[in-house]
Symmetry: C2
Amino acid sequence: MVKINDNFLKLPGSYLFSTIGKKVAAFQEANPDKKIIRLGIGDVTQPLVPAIIQSLHKAVDEMGSAETFKGYAPDLGYEFLRTAIADGDYKARGCDINADEIFVSDGAKCDSGNIQEIFGLDNKIAVCDPVYPVYVDSNVMAGRTGTYDAASEKWSDVIYMPCTMKNNFAPELPKETPDLIYLCFPNNPTGSTITKAQLQEWVDYANKTGAVIIYDAAYEAYISEENIPHTIYECEGARTCAIELRSFSKNAGFTGVRLGFTVIPKELKVGDVSLHSLWARRHGTKYNGAPYIIQRAGEAVYSEAGKAQLKEQVAYYMNNAKVIFNGLKEAGYTVSGGVNAPYIWLKTPEQMTSWEFFDFLLEKANVVGTPGAGFGPSGEGYFRLTAFGSFENTVAAIERIKNI
Amino acid sequence: MVKINDNFLKLPGSYLFSTIGKKVAAFQEANPDKKIIRLGIGDVTQPLVPAIIQSLHKAVDEMGSAETFKGYAPDLGYEFLRTAIADGDYKARGCDINADEIFVSDGAKCDSGNIQEIFGLDNKIAVCDPVYPVYVDSNVMAGRTGTYDAASEKWSDVIYMPCTMKNNFAPELPKETPDLIYLCFPNNPTGSTITKAQLQEWVDYANKTGAVIIYDAAYEAYISEENIPHTIYECEGARTCAIELRSFSKNAGFTGVRLGFTVIPKELKVGDVSLHSLWARRHGTKYNGAPYIIQRAGEAVYSEAGKAQLKEQVAYYMNNAKVIFNGLKEAGYTVSGGVNAPYIWLKTPEQMTSWEFFDFLLEKANVVGTPGAGFGPSGEGYFRLTAFGSFENTVAAIERIKNI
């Protein structure tokens, strides 16, 4: 008699963005004449840039001819893409990461969810609070998080590191020592960053305690200030304690294209066991590579034309971020983020809970945002807006919010 | 101090096809002048058909324009593809499967490896022996298989169902009752099939014992004989006991394109819990959909032009199968498979082990096949050749084998 994985039943409610999707659909059905503006889910809206479109067409043609057709990709990704990544994202910043330490995947969400598989069930995880829900949820499914307390909205075996206005949204080293530390900077959802010196403290801490840092740098393309690290490998000693997750979703508009990668330096070992070899085994056994044509699109991200065009695209979204940030400030909101990240994080007004503010904004302004509580208990009382809409919609949304 | 998932260390050696890849690379390096013909890994060689190429180009253009750009796909796949699948693969065969019971993914390898996550660790799995290694290996990684005995090459908590010449490569109902039963027909690697009446016995058995069947039908497009089921949902009662895994890799040449799907009927429950809802939660939390352009390519598989073109492509490979089957028979080998599947399964000559025969064939004929032992202990003494090469290479390989 088959038994299910009971850990799934412990998860309260559905995945955050599924819940939002259902709420918005219900509102639209009840109000078919309202034009909803979505600044909720972090989905991009600008089309793929010409250099990428060109590269996709070329790769499609290759797939149509016997001489150039490509079957199964190499387990860990095509050499051309891994080299472009190593050169463009690491060597160019003086970081010692080689092509064979890069694992190409179909996106950072999968990697964020799957990376925990190579670790034992008896590890204690630490997460920023609030944070991208996949880190905790995937550990819940695996059975690593203990029991859920509905009152505090916390799991008994998870170390929460509050990131609120009090600490300028930067986590402090936890009192209890964790085994696995999830860090995400620029942060989703708060849009905050930490300096290289602050990140170095985490690297030193992990090396001292024998913890592994899972560093999600999906939003690094939005960093505009000096002294904010683009990759954890800018820090000394990161090669022995850190795994980095990266995405093409936000820097190149690949949310519907699906491409990402994970970096595991070969020095990163637990005892004699290299985490690189464990992840390689996981990839080899349970994954079959990203599509050839998509990997070619990824390569185009690093071409001269691609880089120039994407710089403009990122600037377009960051201009939206400015519109949101300044508009909300003018309207009297307390806001942060939006300078090194495409996310604006605001304090809900008048003691509203974040889901109350979600409903309020949907009903009064027909604008969709994301309730901070969806990202963890310390997200309560906050709200996220994203800069990924069109300029016109962003301006219109802010006007509506001002006019409530 | 972080702990690794020790289950990974229990896996003997590397993933089968990685091992083969390394052996072949080493041989080629030592013998740079030899022209190796690969009939080992089940990778296709024919280019994508024109209907699919056309559809890919169109979808790429959509991604280049703001009006038609697509971001995140719906969690479970685009409606257009799920409907095409439900109609083309199920309703057309009189099977009651709806679009909302189909979960689009990036391939059957991922689904085969991930599906075990929704089940508890205390389930006992049963597998055909030999079989596609991912079923067992993914359960090893999760910690469901007990200890490995190197002498017998068996895991203590796995029920092996031998499929050899003795039983015409059809598994018998196991003596010990399993909780999860992996079946793959047409079978990889033996190329054998079972009749609808035989499959009905498995469905009845699962319903009686409360087991779930994970039915891998990746090769159904190669079925040429009547009375061989194309899907498990042709059997009565399958909606309450069976999950089906399907792939576009072999029927449409998508090994480098990456698309597949899993079917979970809504009636399939364990107690009150619907497996459909668990898999939906898994998809929502740890997966972000197949690329839009690839889902459009999948849709083209079901168009009139696509179907006609792919019928020819399958016929091309099945002609190769005939060449291999007949050629080996003429050369005095004992062969099976190749009639309803792109795989030919042969008995190794002169008591050679299957890895001995692998080396023998590589050295003497410069032909790469797959050792049966790589698929499980009962695969020892057998060897797999695939029909996925080009016609010219297939003919040349068989000539070389005849001439040893």
